[in-house]
């Protein structure tokens, strides 16, 4: 039976902001779902608070609400839009949980809304620990001995009966928040209490620890007739004990004999059948490496991160098929879009291996707890495809944006054998590289490293193979055979040159491209989805030959893994650029390595290359594609980094030229331009050494802002109040040897920060909107609450900003997009930085102003004139709404990370609030970001001396609202002196009861904490105080401006229910 005739209008619930455990994969899934629904002629209503997504684009749905994902809001949307169905399984855990709540409290039934994709019974069986266990027992599927408890004492008692170590898993939490492995009673006491607190139903599972077993996953898809297939198997390189999101994963599973493989495949099928899933489902197993014993770890009856990976790994579009199943189709009715001649009931067969490598944020959070366990910590991931494991893991290492070209970490090369073995013993973000280093040096053999890590010997032997080739290269006897072997193992020409000391040019071979076709070449496929390898046949070249076109080809370089500072926004921009290119009559080719994204969907571009974004990889693609031009300005820093290389090769870079990119980054050249334009900037210098830095800082006067040039997301950016900090900073930044690019050192001005994204053709320019930050300069723009349109700037300041933006665009000969950051200080406008490329605010500003920025920029790059594009020039008229972007953090997942905001970006995602007034929009934004906005209760304040005077008026606001005020002694004294009655609380170094007990007591609903010291929780008490607040999910504000805005928001006495919902399709 095809489409159900009783479905006409479907509500799709998105997954909200990007947080650790719920990232871009749900934009990919949701976008596919929206397209699948629209393909069937259904009307789609979408709600998602995340404005950076592609799914919230006008072409994706008929009605789009960028509104908080709360039960109340969704109910209002349903009342307003009257959909006949809700699709529950494509919006991650967030979408699923909300759908279930709607179903369970009878709301859906009373409003005649059908629940598609899952029924509450299925979800409960999969997610409720006890029901899940019971279900597994009923079909003879083994579970790990475990018990569901709601009290700490029961947890301790059960652990005594099964023995330590035990794993704690809280029910209904994202990415395992609040879970962990407890080795003894004391650890369990802490972890269990934490888990109970994080579980919305105050329930945890305590289970036998099977750490060290193999961790195997199957992605299953089932329809209502009971047809099932497994799309893909996956094997975690890291054994059970490390969250699968933090594990390096290979697909398909490689160390399982057919007997074991089929045993687990059959188990998956029985489980999915027993649960009655209709759609996609992920099954995770622990398999004893020494027997056929296995246990079901968990089941996710929805589209997930793993299903996104499985889709990209095989070419099988799980989200699309799951959507079609939800609206009535069966697997045998859905054609496989990749081959066009097989059906969705065909299990993919692949003829390559895929490696997923997680991207962790520890380059940013140096004091964060890097040890990996059951709590996921990665912000994103890359995928690499190769004809062997060695090639795939090398490609992955080259793709994770840690400046690695092989499995040898330059940092570890300096370390002693002892240090390396310590690392091998510690499961953290860099362990795999330590394992490689240990094998390379021969510190220990495969057996011993297996004993320590429980990483299957198969993988260790592969590392051995890599090490052997590396050693051979180092012998300096390079010949064609060795060269080709090294290429097949993923070594770059530059690495071969470096290792062997021989120029490999005489042997050089370009990579060839193989197709990802779901069927291992059994059927001819029409999907132009390719990966590189070193082999005989180049299918991409063949494909291009067989599809002659008079259209010019343009390559769009993507943005790589999702990481702090470079999020989903850049994928939004890349995808829009591709669409615009296609509409303008070009063939658009995408190169990217992130499996979570829409850009790497097989039918987004005309062709897709799933490969690293290294210069060499790009060269091979250029050799095969011979494009008319390339686009680098939408792929964030990843793509921009290729500019110099491409320009040197003489490749036509569409849009702003490489020289202008350089002019914006090169301090001296940029200063020259500013001088010509008569635009002031905070005084500053470029320095290469510590001595120069101190000298420069002294001449500028403290505080100063330090940062390396060529960065995004404020990487390694600090505000230094004195010479000591400058020396410390320069010490860290020069630790890896001398600098490639200079460090910028500027006078720090604490004024209002303003941001502008503009489109320019080099003559005219268009500013869709001016954004003003709530927080003053000093907090990274990505972490600031940003308001459109600007609300405090005078006409004169606005006009100055418009004028400066135009001058800069012309001076830099911008063709396409430019982002400018200003600080307004003492009623003067200063330029902080100019980035001639797209920025993270582009998606949101495009959506709220209705100016299709990427589309216009792309047309301009192709030669169009702004004035002919119909959106005018100068500042675009303000929208009749206020839009407030609120950053979202993942601090609860990152133990030990200081929550104090500063010039270095820390947020993982963002939400948007849209309303008639600032207060209303801010309220929506805060609610959407997950702030628990209690209207009464307690506020705890502990601020640095410089903030104390300003703290007074904010404290007064909370007092007026009826809050009980608490503060650490210094802050309390300052407030009481100003007649704001505040309870003084003992600091944490004093005996109980002190400030920590107060936080634990539940009396505190807001913490306002600022400090000037370092970020190390071991030495800084403020960091520990803030961490405690995070552990209790207490709103913790680290900038007075944020606290003040929040107080104003509370004072406005607005309720969410009073504020109109806005469909951006109406704007």
């Amino acid at each position: 039976m095809p489409l159900r005739s009783d479905i006409k209008k479907v509500l799709m619930i998105g997954s909200g902001p990007i947080v650790i455990g719920q990232a871009a994969e749900f934009d990919y899934a949701g976008t596919q779902a929206c397209r699948a629904l629209k393909e069937e002629g259904l009307e789609v209503v979408l709600i998602n608070s995340n404005p950076a997504t592609i799914m919230t684009d006008k072409r994706m749905a008929d009605r789009i609400y960028i509104e908080p994902l709360t039960l109340e809001t969704i109910k209002r949307v349903i009342e307003l839009e009257k959909p006949d169905s809700v699709l529950s399984t494509l919006g991650g855990q967030t979408g699923l949980t909300l759908s279930m709540q709607l179903a369970k409290d009878g709301f859906l039934e009373s409003h005649n809304v059908k629940l598609l994709g899952a029924n509450p019974e299925t979800i409960d069986k999969a997610e409720d620990r006890q029901l899940f266990k019971d279900t597994m027992e009923s079909i003879n599927q083994p579970c790990i001995p475990s018990k569901v408890v709601t009290e700490l004492d029961d947890a301790l008692a059960f652990a005594d009966t099964i023995g330590y170590p035990v794993i704690v898993r809280p029910a209904f939490t994202l990415g395992g928040t609040g879970g962990g492995i407890a080795g003894d009673v004391d650890e369990l006491r802490e972890i269990a209490a934490n888990g109970l607190r994080h579980s919305p139903i105050h329930q945890i599972l305590v289970e036998r620890c099977v750490s060290g077993w193999k961790e195997i996953e199957f992605e299953v898809i089932r329809d209502r007739k009971g047809n099932l297939i497994t799309v893909c198997s996956m094997e975690n390189v890291d054994p059970v004990g490390i969250h699968t999101g933090d594990s390096v994963v290979i697909a398909p599973a490689v160390t399982l004999a057919d007997k074991e493989y089929q045993m687990l495949r059959t188990a998956s099928i029985s489980i999915v059948d027993a649960l009655g899933v209709e759609g996609g489902c992920n099954c995770q197993f622990a398999l004893n490496p020494n027997s056929f014993e296995y246990a079901v770890i968990e089941v996710n009856p929805r589209v997930s991160r793993s299903s996104a990976l499985a889709s990209k790994a095989t070419g099988y579009p799980i989200a699309k098929v799951a959507t079609k199943i939800a609206i009535g189709y069966t697997l045998d009715e859905i054609v496989n879009a990749v081959t066009g001649c097989t059906y969705a009931c065909f299990e993919p067969a692949i003829d390559y291996v895929v490696v997923k490598y997680p991207r962790w944020p520890f380059d940013k959070f140096v004091y964060g707890e890097k040890k990996l366990g059951t709590q996921m910590k990665a912000t994103g991931e890359v995928m690499a495809i190769g004809t062997n494991f060695e090639q795939a893991i090398m490609k992955a290492a080259q793709s994770i944006e840690l400046k690695l070209s092989s499995m040898r970490s330059p940092k570890m090369m300096q370390e002693s054998d002892e240090q390396i073995m310590t690392r091998v013993n510690t499961p953290d973000d860099s362990r795999l590289f330590a394992v490689y280093e240990a094998l390379y040096r021969g510190i220990e053999d495969v057996e011993e490293i297996f004993r320590i890590t429980r990483i299957d010997r198969w993988f260790l032997y592969k590392f051995h193979n890599l090490a052997a080739v590396e050693r051979q290269l180092e012998s300096g006897r390079l010949d064609e055979i060795l060269y080709l072997r090294a290429k097949k193992f993923g070594y770059l020409d530059s690495s071969i040159r470096k290792l062997s000391g021989v120029d490999p040019a005489p042997f050089h071979r370009e990579a060839v491209y193989k197709m990802v076709d779901t069927c291992a070449a059994e059927f001819p496929a029409e999907t132009p989805y390719f990966y590189s390898t070193y082999d005989d046949e180049n299918e991409a070249a063949e494909f291009i030959g067989h599809h002659p076109s008079d259209k010019k080809t343009v390559i769009v370089f993507g943005s790589g893994p999702i990481r702090i500072g470079q999020g989903i926004e850049f994928d939004y921009c890349s995808v829009h650029c591709v669409w615009a290119l296609k509409e303008a009559g070009y063939q658009a080719v995408i190169v990217n390595n992130n499996p979570e994204t829409v850009s790497t969907d097989f039918d987004t571009g005309d062709r897709l290359y799933f490969d690293p974004l290294t210069p060499e990889s790009v060269d091979s693609i250029l050799a095969t594609e011979k494009p008319y031009g390339v686009v680098v300005q939408f792929g964030g820093q990843t793509a921009i980094s290729l500019t110099r290389h491409l320009a040197d090769k003489g490749v036509r870079i569409l849009g702003t030229c490489a020289d202008s990119v350089d002019a914006a980054e090169d301090r001296e050249r940029f200063d020259e331009i500013l001088e010509q334009c008569g635009i002031p900037r905070p005084a500053g210098h470029t320095v290469m050494t510590t001595e120069e830095a101190v000298k420069a800082a002294e001449s500028l006067g403290y505080p100063v802002l330090l940062r390396p040039s060529y960065v995004l997301g404020g990487q390694n950016m600090v505000i230094a109040p004195n010479a000591e900090r400058v020396v410390e900073y320069m010490g860290i930044i020069t630790a890896g040897g001398s600098l490639e690019n200079p460090v910028l050192i500027d006078k720090y001005m604490m004024g209002t920060e303003v941001e502008v994204d503009a489109i320019s053709d080099g003559e005219d320019f268009l500013i869709p909107g001016i954004m003003e930050h709530v927080e003053r300069a000093g907090i990274h723009s990505g972490d600031s609450i940003s308001v459109y349109p600007c609300r405090t700037l005078s006409e004169r300041i606005k006009n100055t900003i418009i004028d400066y933006t135009g001058k800069l665009a012309r001076a830099l000969k911008v063709s396409g997009m430019v982002n400018v950051q200003y600080v307004v200080y003492n009623d003067e406008v200063y330029v902080i930085e100019v980035n001639p490329r797209s920025s993270r605010t582009v998606p949101y500003i495009s959506k709220v102003t209705g100016v299709p920025m990427v589309d216009l920029a792309t047309q301009i790059m192709l030669g169009a004139k702004l004035r002919d594009l119909g959106y005018g020039t100068g500042l675009y008229p303000n929208a009749p709404y206020v839009a407030v972007k609120v950053p979202v953090f993942s601090f609860e997942k990152l133990t030990g990370v200081d929550t104090q905001l500063g010039p270095e970006m820390k947020s993982t995602g963002e939400v948007l609030g849209i309303a008639k007034t600032f207060e209303e929009a801010l309220l929506k934004g805060l609610v959407a970001a997950g702030y628990k906005l209690e209207e009464r209760g307690g506020v705890l304040m502990s601020v640095k001396d410089a903030d104390k005077p300003e703290m007074v008026k904010i404290a007064e606001k909370f007092e007026k609202l009826g809050f009980e005020l608490y503060a650490t002694p210094g802050t309390a004294l300052a407030l009481n002196n100003q007649m704001v009655a505040t309870n003084s609380v003992r600091p944490m170094q004093e005996p109980s009861p002190n400030v920590m007990d107060l936080i634990d007591s539940g009396k505190i609903h807001y913490v306002i904490s600022t400090s000037k010291g370092g970020a190390d929780p071991k030495t800084n008490q403020s960091v520990r105080l803030r961490r405690r607040a995070v552990d209790h999910s207490i709103v913790c504000l680290t900038a007075l401006d944020t606290a003040n805005a929040l107080a104003d928001c509370l004072l406005s006495k607005k309720q969410m229910a009073d504020i109109d919902l806005v469909s951006i399709t109406d704007l």
Binding site: I229, D258, T342, F346, D351, T387, N388, W458, E522
Partner: protein, 371 residues
């Protein structure tokens, strides 16, 4: 010592295309029909599957032998294929049951292996041209011997496949646990797990030679008959097909698998056809008309029954391949017989249709009740 220092080896197809790779397994020269399988696991089962008799098999999955070989995962006692081609074999296998590397396993059985070629390019060639004869060799192909080899390739046909490998004598394998049935298993080159699937369900399994006649069978008094898989062109088994006509008349419940399915169709007046490049792998979707369900099946066949060629009065097509709609199963209306083209015994591949053995036994139960 890297596997990539191994000696060179070659594959030449009948169209003259030559692939140079490296040698593993046994040394020598062999001619066979080159086919590919898309199965991602189960290389040992594949190697020991007698249906590959006379063929040179290409694995499309690039990494083979990852978990080594062991004493249990064999589908017969020998390797019947002529050659084995992979992209890369694993010299450091890892699995708790592994006893041997695949290279040794091939050597022990005298099977010639070739690796380190672009197996995807080869697969695509076979897909476009259909299966082709080829020669796998560890001796260099020179301009001198090339023409001679090509002539041999042109003349090569897989002949007497079933007769060559079928058992010469009966052999009884008792049921695991209490005996409930007695089943005669025709050995056309049967896979061990067909036998084991029956034994696990309480069947005494009597292996009988391919040319066993109806009269001989009648004396053995089996409760049911299973026609096994096997290699080659079904049409060359003239005597067996002839015998089957009489065997059907005995009224004993019959289940047919793969070649057994084809032979039964031929015996009942149907026709078979050679497919371009066959179905080999563990992912073929098959639609069961009775339930409307689609099942993922294990397959290994180069010929198929033409559904239209069967007399609708005595047979109906029960299963088709969801992709190419070829006949995957036949239900006979006048006699208690059903046959399937795919492999319910799996090995290697999914066991999603193992319930067909239960269906077979229910058929026997029904027959017994009727008596």
């Amino acid at each position: 010592m890297s596997i990539y220092n191994a000696d060179h080896a070659w594959l030449m197809l009948a169209d003259g295309t030559t692939y140079e790779g490296r040698s593993f397994g046994a040394k020598g020269t062999a001619i066979g029909e080159v086919v590919f399988t898309t199965g991602m696991t189960g290389c040992q089962e594949t190697l020991t599957d007698p249906s590959y008799f006379g063929q040179i098999t290409v694995q499309t999955f690039p990494l083979i032998g990852n978990y080594g070989t062991n004493d249990d995962d064999v589908e017969s006692d020998d390797i019947y294929m002529k050659g084995y081609i992979v992209r890369e074999w694993c010299d450091s296998p890892s699995n708790f049951r592994a006893t041997e590397r695949i290279d040794n396993f091939l050597k022990r059985h005298g099977t010639i292996g070739l690796f380190d070629i672009d197996t995807r390019a080869l697969t695509r060639r076979l897909r476009e041209h259909g299966v082709m004869n080829g020669v796998i060799t560890t001796e260099p192909i020179t301009p001198e011997n090339r023409e001679q080899l090509l002539a041999q390739l042109g003349a090569f046909v897989i002949r007497d496949a079933v007769d060559t490998i079928s058992t010469p004598a009966q052999r009884l394998y008792p049921a695991h646990g209490p005996r409930k049935y007695r089943v005669a298993l025709f050995d056309f080159g049967y896979k061990r797990n067909i036998r084991e699937s029956l034994r696990a369900r309480g069947c005494d399994v009597l292996i009988v030679p391919a040319r066993t006649t109806a009269a001989e069978l009648a004396q053995l008094k089996p409760d049911g008959i299973l026609l096994s898989n096997g290699p080659g062109d079904p049409g060359e088994n003239v005597q067996v097909i002839e015998n089957l006509r009489d065997i059907v008349a005995l009224g004993i419940p019959i289940m047919g698998v793969c070649l057994g399915h084809q032979l039964m169709a031929l015996a009942r007046g149907g026709k078979t056809v050679k497919l371009g490049y066959g179905h080999r792998g563990g992912n073929q979707p098959v639609i069961d008309f009775e339930t409307g369900r689609t099942f993922v099946t294990t397959q290994n066949h180069g010929y198929a029954v033409l559904g239209d060629s069967l007399d609708p009065a005595i047979a109906r097509v029960s299963h088709v391949n969801a992709n190419d709609k070829t006949c995957e199963g036949v239900e006979y209306l006048d006699v208690p017989v059903f046959t399937v083209q795919f492999h319910p015994e799996a090995c290697a591949g999914p066991a999603d249709t193992s319930f067909l053995f239960d269906k077979f036994l229910r058929m026997i139960d029904k027959q017994k009740e009727g008596k």
